[in-house]
């Protein structure tokens, strides 16, 4: 029994890990294809049919490029920076429920690596740790532009964590639990949290754009002002890790948004489908639905990137502190009043 559990978790972790890497890999291709689509171009189409092997070619190119560590850089930290970035990006997936429990060979298998009872806070913690990779790498490069990028990343992350946390508090008032598994189970069918927390979702989404350093909030790597930002000095696969970590973060935050606000693996009519297909294939359809939601969010991330220009730095700070935080607090108050009234009725 114990051994079976360990094997089961091991397989699950491997699959989740591989999936997030593959999704991140093909997000790079999707980004270029979507950019091309939005700008009325063709996009990469030379490597394989429709450019299918472009990510592999890019990866090989990254590995074979010359690797330069600056003379004056702090060597250990220079290597630790990108490693930390990719490590924190990959650990976030541990608490996301990928699907309902499935029955395989007489066993009930939870499609979630671990259900700790502080699931949301765990994700929040991992997200807040993500900035260290950028900061350490930027500082260790011993370059003014890198340092400015690192400092921008730190202040941006700290500022946007606050409205993010506040929007999660409003969500917790509705769900009454911190466990992601229970939050997902509560959204059975079409009872998605976005219907109860539309403003909270909007705030959370804006903050996840800022936390993943995506346009319009990509000031840490703002090339018009900072050359390349925190990764100016990086080359070869270390640069690749930084870029890759951004895509993994995008995948994870899409998964978190889909789980918290858009019902995770739930969809209208799931009971009927589950009865029809049985305890193995029914939940697997749910997994497919979750991934569909995730891909929609990833597409949205890219759509915004190729549509909206970058903020100026003071605009970024004004938006964070003077618009998002008051809105998030108002959201908590409104949610509190609404819950009290609906309890009394």
């Amino acid at each position: 029994m114990e051994l079976a559990l360990i094997i089961e978790k091991f397989i699950l972790i491997t699959v989740v890990f591989a999936l997030s890497l593959v999704v991140a890999m093909y997000s790079t291709l999707a980004e270029r294809k979507i950019a091309a689509f939005l700008q009325d171009r063709v996009g990469p189409n030379r490597a394989g049919p429709g450019g299918m092997f472009q990510p592999l070619a890019d990866g090989a190119k990254m590995f074979f490029k010359e690797e330069i560590i600056p003379e004056q850089a702090s060597k250990f930290l220079f290597i630790a920076g990108p490693s930390l970035a990719i490590l924190t990006a990959c650990t976030g997936s541990a608490v996301i429920p990928w699907g309902d429990a499935i029955a395989v060979a007489g066993r009930i298998v939870d499609l979630q690596v671990t259900d700790i009872n502080v699931g949301i806070l765990y994700i929040f913690g991992v997200v807040s740790l993500g900035v260290y990779g950028v900061m350490i790498g930027g500082w260790a490069s011993n370059n003014k532009f890198s340092l400015m990028g690192a400092i921008r990343a730190a202040s941006q992350n700290i500022s946007y964590e606050i409205p993010m946390g506040l929007s999660i508090i409003a969500l917790l008032l509705v769900t009454n639990t911190l466990s992601l598994k229970e939050i997902t189970a509560q959204q059975h069918g079409w009872h998605w949290n976005v219907l109860y927390q539309p403003l909270g979702f909007l705030l959370f989404m804006i903050c996840s754009f800022a936390e993943t350093n995506r346009t319009p909030f990509d000031l840490p790597e703002c090339e018009t002002e900072l050359v390349g930002g925190y990764h100016t000095e990086y080359s070869s696969m270390k640069l690749g890790f930084y870029l890759f970590a951004e895509y993994i973060n995008m995948f994870i935050s899409s998964a978190v948004m889909a789980t918290l606000y858009f019902g995770g693996y739930n969809y209208p009519g799931m009971d009927w489908v589950n009865n029809l297909l049985g305890p193995l294939w029914g939940p697997l359809i749910g997994v497919a639905v979750l991934f569909l939601k995730i891909f929609v969010f990833i597409f949205f991330f890219m759509w915004v990137r190729w549509t909206v220009p970058r903020f100026r730095y003071d605009q970024l700070m004004n938006l964070g502190w003077k618009v998002l935080i008051p809105l998030a607090i108002a959201n908590i108050v409104i949610t509190g009043i609404w819950i009290t009234i609906s309890d009394k009725l």
């Binding site: 930290l77 700790i116 009872n117 502080v118 806070l121 765990y122 929040f124 913690g125 997200v127 807040s128 740790l129 900035v131 260290y132 900061m135 350490i136 930027g138 500082w139 340092l147 690192a150 400092i151 730190a154 202040s155 992350n157 700290i158 964590e161 911190l178």
Partner: protein
């Protein structure tokens, strides 16, 4: 198993906190401090206090130390630019450290090693039980400390704010 794990983590906490003190570069110091706080998080998990562990993780590692690192990177201190400390500051530091040492020794003497405190409910650290205790039994201290934090925050903003005619 649990005991040996505890000793390993305790050793790591002490080791990294010593490195915080002895490392020459202030940024390295902060990085060791981050690892020290991470070992504290493991201690909390070993005590089955998941909520405290994750809060320590978010607040100390994810926010406060990022700010520390932020300030140090902005100043970019190194051996050449480090201001010389006056003797008075050194003496004050020694006296402060001694006071802390005396307090720590005194508090360990007050412990009864032969009669250790046993946790009555194993799941006290889980968020549900902790929340119930905080909002019923310890409601007043909880609210008072929140006002204390708010006033500290307002004070900091007030101090940092420039006079309008000086701009």
């Amino acid at each position: 198993m649990n005991i040996s794990l505890f000793y390993l983590v305790a050793f790591l906490s002490i080791f990294f906190s010593l490195l915080v003190i002895f490392s020459k570069n202030p940024v390295h110091s902060i990085l060791y401090l981050i690892i020290t706080f991470f070992t504290f998080t493991i201690h909390y998990i070993l005590l089955n206090a998941q909520f405290l562990a994750i809060v320590n993780f978010i607040v100390y590692m994810g926010a406060i130390l990022v700010l520390f690192l932020f300030v140090l990177m902005l100043l970019n201190l190194n051996k050449d630019s480090e201001p010389l400390k006056s003797n008075l500051l050194k003496i004050i530091g020694v006296i402060g450290g001694m006071c802390l040492l005396v307090t720590l020794v005194g508090s360990t003497k007050a412990l009864h090693l032969s009669n250790p405190v046993v946790l009555q409910t194993q799941n006290l650290g889980l968020v549900k039980n902790l929340g119930k205790v905080l909002f019923s039994e310890f409601l007043l201290p909880f609210e008072v400390s929140s006002i204390l934090l708010l006033s500290a925050m307002v004070g900091a903003v007030l101090l940092a704010k420039r006079e309008p005619n000086n701009v």
